[in-house]
């Protein structure tokens, strides 16, 4: 048997050959990469592998433990699903970017040192940006540039933190850091940008809905989950994360209710779900970390499923706004069913995957007696059902009839969605296999009667609220509009900054131009030309005044003097006199 290689290598090197293949061969090749990768991954024993000496440091390309392995598994699974879903795409750029992106994500989770971690972390940004730009619309270009700028800033924070950390400790090992000192704050903040913390989040809701139909599936899986992994590795039990996570779980649902673009609704609900994970990492107990990791695993599947169903709708109708859709269950029934499975999973219905992982975080909060957090998370659980669980399927597939009768999604999309839907239901019904992969031993039983009844009540009465508000006409109608978010600060603020800089620096430029070019240069020129004459006149005029009483004579003398000075044609004797005076002066000074 061939020796295993670093998991990232298969994807990244594999991506380079994609442009040389055509047709079915290429499609088969693309699907083969995650399969090979998975076989490679399961043949790697736990431990530390591929250590390369670089300068005075050890680069580790294979830190294989239970925490990194579970992320490795799900990244392979979702890569397979996303590649299958993208079989119709002819654009090599997207395939290559997708594979490198997935490879970088694997690189991040298996890095055992901060250097290679940072390189893969930056590659995530670079690869993912092409999945946004590949849409080739003006909006996608703009969103992509903003995405790039935000992540570049985040990367710099991370780099600053890493440099400080290595400087202080002399070690580049990537393990538990904890919040202590400036270096760790920088790293923490750098992770936070990729994790879409409140106020750092708008890159996500701005860019994901602008990406290509297939690109969004990749995007929804990797960047935020890598950040979740990094936080779980370096900052478990950091109290700040509890509150950050709760805020993430809470605020996006309000936006999701009034948002029209259904993929943007999903982007908000992505933040909401990552909030549960971040909160779990903050709580930091074994149960909480298990819950966070399990929820990341499940979220990758059901969020991809929801994005895939909306992508299929977009692929068939060309539309994604709630105002433009409706009634599609009639001709896209399978897509509709898969969407509902995704919706039930994200809402944590019993027998669906969200149920077995989200409740671990909730219970961990309850164990820790975090009352307020528990209430916020419960609110977010009800809210997520409201916006992702009901709103997405309802406005796309039911609601008012849009009159569109598109064909059912293509077969490869249906199979991709089918696999994801199967896994959502399988994990929800039989959580054992997932639990056996979690970082810590699990003694948690999700299916107890009170839990099932309580959760079902919560969800059904949320549905009742939706139904009654809808029937009463109070539910906010979908509207074509933009809702301001924290990106206002750099989208409008950026423009303000630009115009301030424009007025400020260009104004300064103008003043400088007037003073130095227009004024000072002329003055210096005149001074050089006239200055010497005037100085000499200062001496001569009083002299003439003494020896000549006639003002006309004096005027003529002055006139002649100025003329002679300008031409430089003084009688030689004058110059000789000055020269003698000067030399005498020098003689005495010595």
């Amino acid at each position: 048997m061939i020796n295993p290689v670093p998991p990232a290598a298969i994807f990244i090197i594999g991506a380079l050959f994609v442009p040389f293949l055509r047709g079915r061969l290429k499609n088969g090749y693309l699907l083969l990469i995650p399969v090979l990768g998975f076989i490679n991954l399961i043949s790697i024993p736990e431990g530390t592998h591929w250590v390369i000496r670089f300068l005075d440091y050890d680069l580790v390309f294979g830190k294989i433990d239970r925490l990194s392995l579970i992320f490795g598994y799900i990244f392979h699974i979702i890569s397979f699903i996303a590649i299958l879903y993208a079989q119709h795409v002819k654009d090599d750029l997207q395939h290559v970017a997708g594979l490198i992106y997935a490879g970088s994500a694997l690189g991040v989770v298996f890095s055992g040192d901060l250097f290679s971690f940072f390189i893969f972390w930056e590659m995530l940004t670079v690869a993912s940006i092409f999945l946004i730009w590949a849409r080739r619309t003006r909006a996608a270009m703009g969103a992509g540039f903003r995405y790039l700028l935000v992540h570049a800033a985040g990367g710099l924070f991370l780099l600053a933190g890493i440099v400080l950390h290595v400087n202080q400790t002399g070690s580049i090992e990537f393990g538990y850091l904890g919040l202590n000192g400036l270096a760790s704050y920088f790293i923490f903040f750098g992770f936070g940008i990729n994790c879409a913390w409140p106020f750092l989040h708008p890159w996500l809701t701005d860019a994901y809905p602008e990406a290509t139909i297939t690109g969004t599936i990749f995007l929804s899986a990797f960047t935020t989950k890598c950040a979740v992994y990094a936080l779980a590795r370096a900052f478990p039990g950091t109290e700040a994360l509890i509150w950050i996570g709760a805020a993430m779980a809470g605020f996006p649902i309000f936006y999701a209710v009034i948002e029209n673009d259904l993929r943007r609704v999903l982007a908000y609900s992505l933040i909401n779900q990552v909030g549960f994970m971040v909160c779990g990492i903050g709580i930091g107990t074994n149960l909480a970390i298990n819950g966070a990791v399990a929820h990341a695993f499940n979220d990758i599947l059901f969020k991809a499923l929801l994005f895939m169903s909306m992508g299929a709708v977009m692929y068939r109708t060309g539309k994604i706004n709630g105002t433009a859709l409706g009634g599609l269950y009639k001709t896209m029934p399978l897509t509709c069913i898969f969407c509902i499975v995704g919706a039930a999973s994200i809402s944590a219905f019993p027998l669906f995957s969200g149920f077995v992982s989200k409740s671990m975080v909730m219970d961990a909060a309850a164990h820790g007696h975090l009352k307020i957090i528990w209430f916020i998370l419960l609110f977010a659980s009800a809210g997520v059902f409201h916006h992702a669980g009901i709103k997405i399927p309802f406005f796309a597939f039911f609601s008012h009839d849009s009159g569109m009768r598109p064909k059912e999604a293509p077969l490869h999309m249906l199979i991709a969605m089918g696999i994801a839907a199967f896994l959502c239901i399988f994990i929800g019904s039989f959580p054992g296999p997932l639990y056996s992969l979690l970082p810590y031993p699990v003694d948690y039983v999700p299916y107890t009667m009170p839990h099932v009844v309580g959760q079902t009540q919560l969800l059904f009465f949320s549905a009742l609220a939706f139904t009654l508000l809808m029937l009463a006409g109070i539910y906010p109608a979908e509207q074509r509009c933009v809702n301001l978010d924290a990106d206002w600060f750099y989208r409008k603020g950026g423009r303000l900054f630009y115009s301030l800089m424009d007025k400020g620096f260009n104004g300064l430029n103008k003043i400088a131009d007037r003073i130095f070019v227009g004024g000072l240069a002329g003055f210096l020129c005149r001074f050089a030309k006239e200055g010497a004459v005037r100085l000499q006149l200062l001496v001569m005029v009083p002299l003439w005044f003494l020896i000549d009483t006639d003002p006309t004579n004096r005027a003529v003398k002055k006139e002649n003097f100025i003329h002679a000075a300008r031409l430089g044609s003084f009688p030689i004797s004058h110059i000789a006199v000055f020269a003698v005076l000067y030399l005498t002066l020098l003689f005495f000074i010595r």
């Binding site: 209710v257 269950y329 609220a465």
Partner: protein, 86 residues
């Protein structure tokens, strides 16, 4: 894609009867859920979890509050024309 003269195929929820069945079964399941509560022995972390119908009331109230806040506070504050950033 309606063609003139040919009536369009009738789909599941085009029949009012089916919609009615859906609503009736939904309301019935709500009632069953409320009833189930009293058959279940609870083991709660917090005292309020023991209150009757806590989860049902919380789910309902949370969603009404969510929608009202989003509609009457967030939307007026944040809504701009579609070309606001262009």
């Amino acid at each position: 894609m309606k063609k003139e003269g040919i009536p369009e195929k009738e789909y599941l929820f085009d029949k009012p009867r089916n919609v009615k069945i859906l609503f009736v079964s939904f309301y019935a399941s709500l009632a069953i859920l409320l009833g189930l509560e009293f058959l279940v022995k609870k083991h709660a972390y917090f005292p309020w979890e023991e209150w009757p119908e806590f989860y049902a009331v919380y789910g309902f109230v949370a969603c009404v509050v969510l929608v009202l806040v989003a509609k009457y506070i967030l939307r007026p504050l944040m809504k701009r024309r579609e070309d606001y950033y262009d």
